[in-house]
Symmetry: C2
Subunit: 356 residues, 2 copies
C-alpha cells in the first residue's frame, strides 16, 4: 500500500532544505518506492495564513500520514507574539497530538568535518552517540502549570514535572532496542538524588533492564552527564533521558560534533510512525539565499526510510552518498573550510542525488 508522507516545510530556511530532501525521495519514487507526498502549513507560515501555528488541516493530514518531513519552525518575526501562539506551540502540539514520544537524536562526528569541532580531535574522533529523549511527557506537558498572583500581589510561575511507569517503560524499551543494534550500552540520565519523578525513572529503568540481559545499563545524574559529554563523550553509546534533560543534553552533544548542520532527528510513536526533522533551527537570517545546508534534512529523510518505511538499503545509500560528497570536498557555507569547494543548497542536494 502507498505510504503517505506529509511534508511541512515551515519557516526560514525550512522550505529550501526540505526541497532538497524531497528531490531524493522523488528519485526513489522513480525507482519504485511506493509513497505519496502531500504538503501542509506549520509554524509562523501557518500562523500568518490561518492565525494558528498548527492548523487543524495540518494536524488531520499528519494524523493520517505514515511519516512527516518537517523543515524548521519559528523566527524573529513571531517571537514577540503571546506564548500561546508561538510557533513552538505548533511543534509541541504536533508531537503530543501524534504521540511522538520517542525522540532519537544521533550525535555523529563526520571525519571529513572533524576540524569544525571545538573539542580536541582525540576527544571526539569517531564520536557516534544516540540520545533517546522522551518527547511527550515530563515538565513540557505536566499539569498544573501557569502564572498566578499570590495573596501579597506578587506573581508566581509554576510547572509540573511528572512521569508514570508506563511512560518510562516505553521510552526505555526504545533505548534498549536501539542499543541492541549498536554497542549494547544504555546510560539513563536522571536527577534521582533530588527529584522523586526521576527517582521513579531510575527504578523503572532498572526493573526494565532485567528483560534485556544483553544490555548494560548505567545511571548518571544530569549534572555529571553534562560534564562527561565535555570530558569524554565517547564513553557513551545510547543515552536515554527525560524531555527537559534530553533537550539540553542533545543540543550539547550535537554541538560537540561541530557539524550541527549535519544532524537529523526522528520522533516516533508506538507504531514507528514518525516525524523527521533536522535538529538545527529555521535560521531566518540566511533564509531564501540558497546557502543553507540541506544535509541534516536529507539525512532525516534517510532516518524516515530506515525507521518508518523499512527501506534500510535506501537509507544506507543516502548516508553513503552524503559521505561521498563530503569526501569530494563539497561544502555549504556553514561547514566550509579552506581548500574545499563551496556549494549552494541546491548544488549540495543535486550532488547527493548524483551520488546515490
Amino acid at each position: 500500500m502507498t505510504k503517505k508522507i506529509v511534508v511541512l516545510p515551515g519557516d526560514g530556511i525550512g522550505p529550501e532544505i526540505v526541497a532538497e530532501a524531497v528531490k531524493i525521495l522523488e528519485a526513489f519514487r522513480q525507482e519504485g518506492l511506493d509513497v505519496s507526498l502531500e504538503y501542509g502549513l506549520i509554524g509562523g507560515a501557518a500562523y500568518d495564513e490561518t492565525g494558528t501555528p498548527l492548523p487543524d488541516e495540518t494536524l488531520q493530514m499528519s494524523k493520517q500520514a505514515d511519516a512527516i518531513l518537517l523543515g524548521a519552525v519559528g523566527g524573529y518575526k513571531w517571537e514577540s507574539l503571546d506564548i500561546s501562539v508561538r510557533p513552538e506551540k505548533g511543534l509541541l502540539g504536533i508531537r503530543s497530538e501524534l504521540n511522538l514520544f520517542a525522540n532519537l537524536r544521533p550525535a555523529i562526528l563526520y571525519p571529513q568535518l572533524a576540524e569544525a569541532s571545538t573539542l580536541k580531535a582525540d576527544v571526539v574522533a569517531g564520536l557516534d552517540l544516540m540520545i533517546v529523549r522522551e518527547l511527550t511527557g515530563g515538565i513540557y506537558f505536566g499539569q498544573p502549570r501557569g502564572i498566578r498572583t499570590l495573596e501579597n500581589g506578587e506573581k508566581q510561575g509554576f510547572n509540573t514535572l511528572v512521569y508514570r511507569e508506563s511512560e518510562i517503560n516505553r521510552i526505555g524499551k526504545v533505548a534498549f532496542d536501539i542499543a541492541s543494534k549498536r554497542q549494547g550500552r544504555v546510560c539513563s540520565v536522571d536527577k534521582a538524588n533530588v527529584l522523586e519523578s526521576t527517582e521513579l525513572w531510575r527504578e523503572t529503568m532498572t526493573t526494565l533492564s532485567e528483560s534485556y540481559p544483553d544490555i548494560e545499563l548505567s545511571h548518571m545524574y544530569v549534572d555529571n552527564a553534562a560534564m562527561q559529554l565535555v570530558r569524554a563523550p565517547k564513553q557513551f553509546d545510547v543515552m536515554v533521558t527525560t524531555n527537559m534533560f534530553g533537550d539540553i543534553l542533545s543540543d550539547c552533544a550535537s554541538m560537540l560534533t561541530g557539524s550541527i548542520g549535519m544532524l537529523p532527528s526522528a520522533s516516533l510513536d508506538e507504531n514507528s510512525k514518525g516525524m523527521y526533522e533536522p535538529i538545527h533551527g529555521s535560521a531566518p537570517d540566511i533564509a531564501g539565499q540558497n546557502i543553507a545546508n540541506p544535509l541534516a534534512t536529507i539525512l532525516s529523510a534517510a532516518m524516515m526510510l530506515r525507521y518508518t518505511l523499512d527501506e534500510a538499503a535506501m537509507a544506507d545509500r543516502i548516508e553513503k552518498a552524503v559521505s561521498k560528497v563530503l569526501d569530494d570536498g563539497l561544502r555549504t557555507a556553514d561547514i566550509y573550510s579552506e581548500g574545499m569547494t563551496k556549494v549552494s543548497t541546491s548544488e549540495m542536494g543535486d550532488a547527493v542525488l548524483a551520488a546515490l
Copy 2:
C-alpha cells in the same frame, strides 16, 4: 567583633582538603584576622555518628556562624540508603535552612593548566565566566512532590518547578551587582518558550534590568546555552539561572576549564553570610591518600575572605599564591602533566602558605 567560621570537613577527601585551607586561615589569624574556627559533622560522617546527615547541632552552629567552610559530602557507602537520609539531603537542608539562595560558580581557565581542557586552546584561552545559580527554590524544593500510586496501580513521580517574583529579583540583583564589577554583561538562561515558571523569570529579569542601566541583559534558552558553552564559552560574562539549569550548566562550564579540581564556589544569603566549598565531590576512591588537590578549597577560603569577611586584600594574596605555585610547576596528581613537579595534598597546601 570576632567572626565565627564553622568548618564542616564532611566525607571522602573532605577532611584532607579542608585542613589545607584551614592552614591558610590560621596563618591570617596570626597576622590579625579576627576569626574563630569551630568544627561540625555533615554528610555521611554525620549519618554514621548521629543517624542523620545534618544533625541539629551542626545546623544550629552553622546558623550562628558568619561563614561555613565545607569540604565535600557523600560517597558509595551511603548511596544505597533511602533517599531521605542521603548525604545530599544534608546539603540541600543546610542550603535551605540558612537561606543560601545565591550560588556563585566561577569557571576560570588557569593559563598554566590550559592543556588540560578538552576544548581547543583558542576556544577557552582566557575563559573567566561567573555562573550565578538560584539555590533555594525552583524544582529542588517545590511542593507538591513525591511518588504516588495511580488508580490503575502504576506509580507516578512528580515534582513542582515554582518561582515567585521576589525570588527571581533577589538572585537577579546578585547577578547584576557582580556583573557591574566585571564586564557588565548578564545572560539570563530560561526555557520561557515552554515553561511558564521561566517565562515569569524572563519578564522579571527584564523589568529588574531597568534599574541597572549600565548592565547589558540578554536572554537565552537553556538548550542553546548548553550549546553556546561548548561552541564559544568566552561570549559570556555572568550567567544567571534557575537551581536546576544552574546545576547542569555550571558543571558543564567548569569541565570546559579542564581544571575542575581548581574551582571554588560560594553560596550566599541576603547578608553576605556564606557557605564556601569546592565544586568537585568527595572522591571516595582517593580519600585518605594525601593526593587530592586542595586548591579548590583554598580558593573557596579566598572567596570567603572576599564575600563574607570583607578582606579582599587577603583573598587576592591567596589567589596570587595559587598562581605562583602553578607557575613554579607544582601539581597534584589530578592536574599533573609531563615535566611538572608532582606534590601531595599537604605539600601543595604548604607551598601556597609559603607563597602568600
